[in-house]
Amino acid sequence: MARGRKLEKLSDFNRSLKNKYGIGEGVDYKPWLRVQDVKSKKGQRTQVWGRKTGREHHLLSSIESQFFYLAEFSDSVVDIREQFPLLPLNLSQKIAATLGVEHPTVPYSAEPNIMTTDFLLTCRQGGREFYRAISVKPEDGIDQRTAEKMDIERIWWELLGVEFLFFTGNETTKAQSTNIQWATSPFRAGIQTYSPSQVEAALAILEPGKHLLFDLCEKLVSMLQCRSEDGLNIVRYMIAEKWIDVDLNYSIESFGGVDILSVNLEKRQVSNGD
């Protein structure tokens, strides 16, 4: 892993911009901060391949990862930009001054720091495209100073007419996120996929209701004449690609069972050619 960038002075920030950190969209977006740029932040830093964006996402804590999986799974979300810098700097300074709070500074150098928002989502619904800004913090994580910074961030987005949301996570979202991660992880980076005929065959077997994972896999392997390890992967694929809706509120992997709420019939009919 490359060493982190030095981000202390205004010239560092400009150089970052020049190297296109924090700008662009979709596959071209580079987060303002990458996992290797952040050293002291506690929590789990991970890089996850985005199935919607086609690039590596930099997630700086476990709560960020949790939110990322959920946002990516949401149908209306078309682009996710993490560590989105609030530029121009003079506007965040202006907001801070208006609110009467101190603008964040770089530790050691007292130079003004560039603020970031954890996630900026591009959503599309009914042909309309709009943005949502999300700040992600663990529930116990709001001290007075954090709150001040979050108020600057919140006002920034409200002034821009962008909905600002706050995500702290709970047991349910944690389970959902774990399930999505479990279901989608073999299919990130787009290496492994299954053919339409395999999907069709699997759809013929899958029925709504509670199933033991083991039974489901046995059935799929014998029907599709595939290797035994593929049985589980097909189930995961069907969930990841939303061929089936399953109850995500409890951990599928640890329970060893899956509750299929519905099978996407529209998709089944299309693939059956009816």
Partner: protein, 477 residues
């Protein structure tokens, strides 16, 4: 190349009086008047600033290159040239028998009988101008030489008809790449044909013949000064053949009395000092070293002050000390580089997506990187720029809206004090400029109030800002 009919002014020196070649020259001017003549301040056309089409304004930045800010050295150099020309013509009064003999016989074959007025005594001096590339040597020469007409057309001088009707004041040639005498001769010949409006003369096939041809042409055209640019190309390759060219030039000076001006980049002075004779001759009428301007010099202030005024940005950018320092830091006093940086800076802000046309230190830095192609980053930027300009239709499944945007060349300025995300740009710019921010903020301290409570999330949930269930929530508008 300007031609002017002769207009005679009485010469100052008694020995120059009655010499039409000298009296046809421009009357002597003082320093201030001369510097006025050497300057050129491009037209600003203020109204263009308001022009709605950025491409039009960008086009105007081409005019930046027309700026000529003369310095004291212009005056010094001009005086040296003027003196050398007059001195050279001093011996060549076309009405004197000396000149008649000089014109008639090749230098080596003149008869034993001296004319009444004596043999022709070649008198010619050489001026050297040295300076690294971009400091403005060529611009200066252009300004100075173009002040003088290239050709003066004589007809009658005080009732006497002139035999030679054309007097060539100056020609400028470039030193050939391979230091070849032949190439230089041919170039001189071609330049003379060009200024005298003659059909191209076929160069003689032997070097000897060619040199005689040149001699004859230089004599009959009354060449005032021969300017040779790019003298750094004169390299000593082998012993023996090495200074053929230099010898040839010496011959022109010594035998024909043609003043010369050598102009070249710094390695050239080393070349010259290799032979004492060359060095002595080369500075006989003065040696001028042009150096990049110093930051605290009046010249820099004058130059940048003038350059800076030439701007077609929608807002007027004032030249602050900080920007002045930055320009100096980037150009290191090199006028050409300063020109390029400033032009690029204007193009950057004019063509950028944003309406923000302020020029600041960051913009200058970026302009430098683009205009001066020295760092590896620049290559990258160039490639990126080309990418922006090229149609992106064949890139498959990218969003259509992006292809439409690409129609306008996108220029990107890495400056943290500018909006960087086109999707929010209009609002961001408005917000940066607005004064009523406090009124627009509905709830200035929601999180701060919550943080004081025992359970902040409970309170925040009531405000609807908490996203409890992203999978479901995000699919609602």
């Amino acid at each position: 190349m300007r031609r002017e009919p002769a207009e005679y002014h009485e010469a100052i020196l008694p020995e120059h009086k009655g010499n039409p070649l000298i009296e046809a020259l421009k009357p002597k001017l003082g320093m201030n008047e001369l510097l006025q003549k050497f300057s050129n301040y491009p037209n600003l056309d203020q109204h263009i600033r308001q022009h709605p089409d950025p491409l039009v304004r960008e086009e105007y930045t081409i005019r930046l290159k027309q700026l000529r800010q003369p310095f004291f050295i212009y005056y010094q150099c001009f005086r040296a040239i003027e003196t050398a020309i007059k001195d050279g013509y001093g011996q060549k009064n076309p009405f004197s028998p000396t000149t008649a003999q000089y014109l008639h016989y090749p230098v080596e074959e003149r008869p034993e009988i001296a004319p009444r007025t004596g043999y022709f005594e070649p008198k010619a001096e050489t001026i050297t101008l040295i300076g690294s590339s971009g400091v403005g040597k060529t611009s200066m020469l252009e300004q100075i030489l173009n002040y003088l007409p290239a050709v003066i057309e004589h007809d009658e001088y005080k009732g006497r008809r002139m035999e030679f009707t054309e007097q060539v004041i100056w020609i400028k040639v470039e030193c050939p790449n391979n230091s070849s005498v032949r190439d230089l001769c041919e170039e001189i010949l071609a330049s003379l044909d060009l200024v005298m409006n003659r059909p191209k003369e076929t160069p003689a096939s032997t070097i000897g013949g060619l040199m005689r041809q040149i001699e004859q042409r230089i004599k009959s055209s009354f060449l005032g000064i021969l300017v040779i640019d790019e003298m750094q190309r004169l390299v000593f390759k082998r012993t023996g053949g090495e200074n053929n060219l230099l010898n040839f030039l010496h011959r022109l000076v010594n035998k024909l009395g043609v003043p010369m001006l050598f102009c070249g980049n710094p390695p050239f002075d080393e070349t010259l000092s290799k032979t004492l004779k060359a060095a002595r001759r080369a500075e006989s009428a003065g040696c001028f070293q042009m150096e990049p301007l110093k930051r605290d010099s009046d010249e820099w202030e004058a130059f940048l002050g003038e350059l800076w005024e030439i701007q077609w940005t929608s807002v007027y950018n004032e030249l602050t000390v900080k920007l002045n320092d930055k320009m100096y830091e980037l150009s290191l006093g090199n006028l050409d580089i300063a020109h390029r940086i400033y032009r690029e800076a204007q193009r950057l802000v004019i063509l950028s997506d944003s309406d923000d046309e302020r020029i600041n230190a960051t913009v200058l830095e970026q302009a430098y990187a683009r205009a001066c192609g020295l760092s590896s980053n620049t290559e990258e930027i160039k490639v990126q720029r080309e990418k922006f300009l090229l149609p992106t239709g064949n890139r498959g499944s990218r969003k259509n809206s992006q292809q439409e945007k690409a129609a306008k060349p996108k220029v990107f300025i890495a400056d943290i004090t500018r909006p960087q995300h086109p999707e929010f740009e209009i609002q961001l710019r408005e917000l940066v400029g607005t004064v009523d921010l406090p009124i627009r903020i509905r709830d200035p301290d929601m999180f701060q109030r919550a943080a004081e409570l025992e359970n902040p999330v409970d309170m925040l949930k009531k405000t609807g800002i908490v996203c409890d269930n992203p999978i479901a929530d995000l699919d609602f508008i």
